[in-house]
Amino acid sequence: MGILITKETKVLVQGITGKEGSFHAQSMLKYGTKIIAGVTPNKGGEKIFGIPVFNTVMEACLFAKVDASIIFVPAYSALQAILEALEREIKLIVCITEGIPLLDMIKIKEKLKQSKSILIGPNCPGVITAGESKIGIMPGDIFQKGNIGIISRSGTLTYEVVSLLSKNSLGQSTCVGIGGDPLIGTSFLEVIKLFEKDSQTDLVVLIGEIGGTQEEEAAEYLASSNLKALAFIAGATAPAGKRMGHAGAIISQGKGKAESKIEAFKRSKVAVARNLIEIPDLIKKLTKN
């Protein structure tokens, strides 16, 4: 089964006629995702790849039941897109958009508390349940159906890990890219809790990086969980005080170091890979018992 999405999940694409939106809508369709509608203001009535386009999320939701929405709009209108999806109470909102201001995310986080929706991202590759449905931008062909769950703060690093796993015949259940921003809709810990309940997932790979304290939180929780897990943290050799690429990855005032995260996992008896290449072997060892 995996978590969050299945073959049957009905998907809306916000920003479907844009360059990224249309490219990835097509790629998702190819993967088998049930895209049932798209939204672009002033393009209502058009069709793209046979999918009807609406002017507003409201119109799209009146046309058909929507289970999930994926957002491809530019950073300056992402707040609007997410609020629009929240207003219609869409259960799963996946926001690919990079560069959303923190102030907008503060507002979104507060509204999320008052809703039943789950936001994955922003600045993330999305969610994929291997062989079933892809609501995201990850290259679908590297995934293989299986029992390894993946939670990652980094997009491209996820692909790296997934392709390693697939090459070693370690298939995946669901892969969730939670996004690399300092403020994100759903944290490591929240996704771990979803995987705990999933009978298809035998082990979860956590791909973290420097900055913040999400990994430490997750580690603490895993100490008393039955979920098998393996962690990898990027940025062990990154200098302090410098933002590595996006606002989330920074060692500031001595906090957020890779070492402290690795220590936290070790304290909780969670296996840690120091090098990506070790991951497949470590998984095989962990799943043998």
């Binding site: 503060i106 290259p139 692909y159």
Partner: protein, 377 residues
């Protein structure tokens, strides 16, 4: 984006918070001109982002022009962690009655701003927290309502602050809150916030961290963005919207995605190499950006080779390949380049590269090993 002290203090002054009289000097004669308009003793402060400047010897005092010259010359060009001192702030020294700590900072865990105050300022916040935990007071700001008067009351009365400093302190707290809003800052810190002779406050040091993602709403901050970068190449990268961080090694690294680039640095380090930089193209880079990124890191003369590591999701391998080919003119130097391309449109990208006689490797580890070999031979 962290601002250097003089830029942060500029924002404070503009907002109505007092700072010491002074000026910024990059050369000795500038320093001497500034000093002539000020009252000795003067303080010389290296403008770098690294913390603990006092302990690192990057803050000096001068009682006269001769000593000023001496200290200035000693500071200029000094190396502190990854930074080189090329700007020095010269300010009048102040008589301090008491040092306070005051900041508003975004707390990532609860997604709220947090106002932190302590009557034990002058040392770093971690030190206060450790040595005087009871002297640290935090209030969290409601995401929608923001800072409330009653919260300022909680601070003032928690520390039994005397009547005559309540009003000026309240004003400074409200000003800090306004700076957070006006500039969409992630952090504004005054430490020490000094109570000086005449019973009023002065910000003797300041730290401001701005949210670059919000700059599209603050066009006036773009100038600040460029100014804030001490390294020339970092400045250039900012102009092109590339995430570039200068490091101390000799292998240029380009990749897409912060996590992947960080992992690439880690891999190169593990293979025995020394990365010269971190350069993240971001998501969905187009061929021109790829070309510009290559041109940019090649300006670093220390570079002996380049490792180009792409795993395409929203980024398409063909675009990357075209960018590399476009830049091949400048690449046709003696410096080796190792390319790794995987993901979206991988086969198309690889084909293009092969046509242009570039032969990509298959994995990050292979690539890391290969570039280290090539550079070290």
């Amino acid at each position: 984006m962290f601002l250097l002290e003089y830029l942060a203090k500029g924002i404070l002054r503009k907002s109505g918070i007092s700072i010491s009289k002074g000026g910024l000097a990059e050369k000795l004669n500038q320093a001497q001109n500034i000093a002539q308009k000020l009252k000795f003793p003067l303080i010389l402060k290296a403008q770098v982002l690294s913390g603990g400047r006092g302990k690192l010897g990057a803050i000096k005092k001068a009682d006269n022009l001769i000593l000023l010259k001496e200290e200035f010359s000693a500071l200029l060009g000094m190396k502190l962690a990854d930074e080189t001192v090329n700007k020095i702030l010269i300010e009048e020294a102040q008589n301090i009655l008491q040092e306070f700590y005051l900041s508003i900072v975004l707390d990532r865990v609860c997604a709220k701003y947090c106002l932190i105050f302590s009557p034990s300022g002058g040392m770093e916040i971690e030190e206060i927290a450790e040595k005087f935990p009871k002297n640290l007071f935090k209030v969290y700001l409601d995401p929608f309502l923001g800072l409330q008067d009653y919260q300022i009351n909680q601070i003032i009365f928690n520390f039994h602050l005397p009547n005559q400093i309540q009003k000026p302190l309240r004003k400074i707290i409200l000003t800090l809150n306004q700076i957070i809003k006006d500039y969409e800052a992630v952090l504004v810190e005054i430490n020490p916030l000094a109570l000086i002779k005449n019973g009023s406050f002065m910000a003797l040091d300041a730290k401001i961290d701005l949210d670059e993602n919000a700059f599209f709403r603050h066009s006036e901050l773009l100038k600040l963005k460029i100014k804030a970068e001490s390294d020339k190449l970092e400045r250039k990268a900012r102009e092109k919207n590339l995430a570039y961080v200068k490091l101390n090694g000799d292998i240029g690294i380009i990749g897409n995605g912060a996590g992947l680039v960080m992992a690439t640095l880690d891999a190169v380090n593990m293979a025995g190499g020394h990365p010269a930089n971190f350069l993240d193209l971001g998501g969905g880079a187009k061929e021109d950006l790829v070309k510009e990124a290559l041109e940019l890191i090649l300006k670093d003369r220390k570079i002996k080779g380049i490792f180009f590591n792409i795993f395409g999701g929203i980024t398409r391998c063909d675009e990357v390949a075209r960018g590399i080919i476009k830049a091949s003119g400048i690449l046709k130097m003696k410096k080796p380049i190792v390319i790794r391309l995987s993901g979206t449109n991988e086969s198309l990208g690889k084909e293009l590269l092969k046509e242009a006689h570039f032969y990509p490797v298959d994995t990050m580890f292979e690539g890391a090993k290969k570039i280290v070999e090539l550079v070290n031979c």
